[in-house]
């Protein structure tokens, strides 16, 4: 392609992107160092006990979310890909419908499940138990992220399971492998690239998402909430900026690791 044409086509997007992303991000980077502690603000995430604890909470929530989502979606996804039964298409459609629910709506779904009038509480009291209300805790937040991530992950797993060679499993079985051995030694290795890429998206989303935590409670001390509080309540823009970069780096790193380990990844957090 001629060079002039190349530049002409690139120009509109490049201008927009530079003006509204690169420039603001560069500005934010310097503002991060404009507080009392200067450039050391960028280390605050590990040196300040409160921020460090928030970082660990965030990473732990993201890790638990990822493991749960992958486990649940693998079982359901492989099952849905392998078996044909009446109503299967409707089931798949229903399970992938929440794909683009924004985080706030997901938070509300968690309240519907585990809030003060939630269905889980209803079921427990029906059997004479005590009403568990965990929507407004870390467990509720985890549940929300799992809810958000299942539809996307199931789609990825189903696409990967379609490409698995059933003959490998038959061969393993004919050599006397138990179902569990088939899963561990044949199916899971075959799903590995899909698991890595879906897991990374799941992790990155759980690290950076804000809407669900915002809906559930302000008491949940995960990093996005801490940044929001620094920015609005304490008007500490410098610290909010520095922490945002740390948060962005963690999310970006998770995706970069996954991309080098497998194909492409696209995350969409609402």
């Amino acid at each position: 392609m001629p060079r002039r044409q190349f530049l002409l086509l690139l120009l509109p997007a490049a201008l927009f992107f530079s003006a509204f992303f690169l420039l603001p991000m560069a500005r934010l980077f310097f503002i991060g160092a404009s507080g009392e502690s200067g450039w050391l603000a960028y280390l605050a995430i590990v040196t300040d006990a409160n921020y460090f604890r928030a970082l660990w909470t965030t990473l732990a929530v993201a890790a638990v979310t990822t493991v749960l989502t992958l486990a649940i979606s693998s079982i359901a996804g492989v099952f849905l890909e392998r078996h044909r039964f009446p109503g299967r298409a409707a089931l798949v459609a229903a399970m992938t419908l929440p794909l683009a629910f924004p985080g706030v709506v997901v938070g509300f779904m968690v309240i519907m499940l585990a809030g003060r009038q939630g269905i889980i509480g209803e079921v427990f009291t029906m059997f004479g138990g005590e009403r568990p209300i965990f929507a407004y805790s870390l467990a509720g937040l985890c549940m929300g992220y799992v809810y958000f991530s299942i539809p996307r992950t199931i789609l990825t797993i189903m696409a990967a399971a379609e490409k698995l060679d059933p003959r490998l499993e038959e061969a393993a079985r004919s050599f006397g492998a138990t179902p569990w051995q088939v899963v561990r030694d044949v199916i899971l290795p075959g799903l590995r690239p899909a698991l890595i890429s879906a897991g990374a998206i799941c992790f990155a989303t759980a690290v950076g998402a804000f809407g669900t935590a915002f809906t559930l409670a302000t008491r949940i001390e995960v990093l996005p909430m801490v940044i929001y509080t620094e920015f609005t309540m304490s008007a500490n823009i410098a610290m909010a900026a520095a922490l945002s970069f740390s948060l962005g780096a963690v999310a970006w790193l998770a995706l970069a690791v996954a991309r080098s380990a497998s194909g492409s990844t696209v995350a969409a957090a609402g």
Binding site: M1, H83, T96, M112, I150, F210, T215, S244, L247, G248
Partner: protein, 274 residues
């Protein structure tokens, strides 16, 4: 065989349970939005009162979100389609770098992007308080989806040969773009457009920081309602959101379904991973 049956049943039950986990809260919230008093239960009767109340109080958020989504679509088309074409034609290192860079607003948490926009442009009062401020954020976030979607379609067809053929018959660049490139990436544009509109309608992470009391979008209004109004109103509001978003999601599903690439006589439809 008995063992296989048992395993099948177990997996089936598990899958149904996962589906219930995803669907039951949706149904509950729809019912809650139509119930006179959710605490009492369905016995209190059904009503449209809450939906009407939301319509009266929050109609503007709905129209703003629709307007933003459409404006976002126009901008991502104008910026994204030429860019996708460019990336499809030149698969060099520069193209890879551009693609990578473009993904950053999706990888970086929306909170950070929004803070960046605020520190850079928050001083321009006219811009800060207008809906265009939110629009910019939405375009940053959705542009990669449009580009990827179009790129996925363009990279499976032999664009250089087609264009060369047209050029040898005397077609100029503009004519080739209009008659060859655009018709060929129709499916990609459609999938990208649906994705862009759906994502823009639901965007909250950035919008919460970018909005002002006069530029409240639907998700912002939802967050407000969840925090301060009774459960029935929050539910009715969510119901309205579902009504808007479900057709888009169903269309996306329908578009993504033909997974095996089918080569028809004329045009080939490409696999889409979104």
């Amino acid at each position: 065989m008995q063992h296989g049956r048992f395993l099948y049943g177990l997996q089936f039950a598990f899958t149904i349970a996962v589906c219930a986990f995803l669907v039951v809260p949706v149904v509950m919230s729809i019912l809650a939005g139509l119930t006179v008093n959710y605490f009492v239960g369905l016995e209190s009767g059904l009503t449209l009162r809450w939906v009407l109340e939301v319509w009266d109080g929050y109609r503007d958020t709905l129209f703003l979100s629709l307007g933003l989504a459409l404006a976002c679509l126009v901008l991502t088309l104008l910026l994204g389609v030429p860019l996708a074409y460019l990336l499809a034609r030149s698969r060099g290192r520069l193209a890879r770098a551009i693609e990578e860079l473009l993904m950053l607003p999706v990888a970086v948490p929306g909170l950070a992007t929004a803070l960046g926009l605020i520190v850079a442009y928050g001083g321009l009062a006219g811009f800060r308080t207008s809906a265009a401020f939110i629009l910019v954020g939405h375009v940053l976030f959705t542009l990669p989806f449009m580009v990827r979607s179009v790129l996925a379609v363009l990279s499976v067809i032999d664009l250089p040969t087609l264009e060369e053929g047209a050029a040898s018959l005397g077609a100029g660049f503009a004519q080739r773009f209009r008659d060859i490139v655009l018709p060929n990436c129709r499916n990609g544009i459609l999938a990208g457009a649906l994705m862009v509109v759906t994502l823009s309608m639901g965007e909250f992470n950035m919008t919460w920081l970018l909005h002002t009391p006069f530029t409240k979008t639907l998700p912002v209004g939802l967050a407000d309602a969840y925090a301060s109004l009774r459960l029935e109103i929050g539910s009715a509001y969510t119901l309205i959101f579902f009504l808007l978003i479900t057709p888009l999601l169903l269309a996306l599903q329908a578009l993504a379904r033909p997974r095996r690439t089918v080569f028809a006589e004329r045009d080939s439809s490409a696999e889409n991973d979104s």
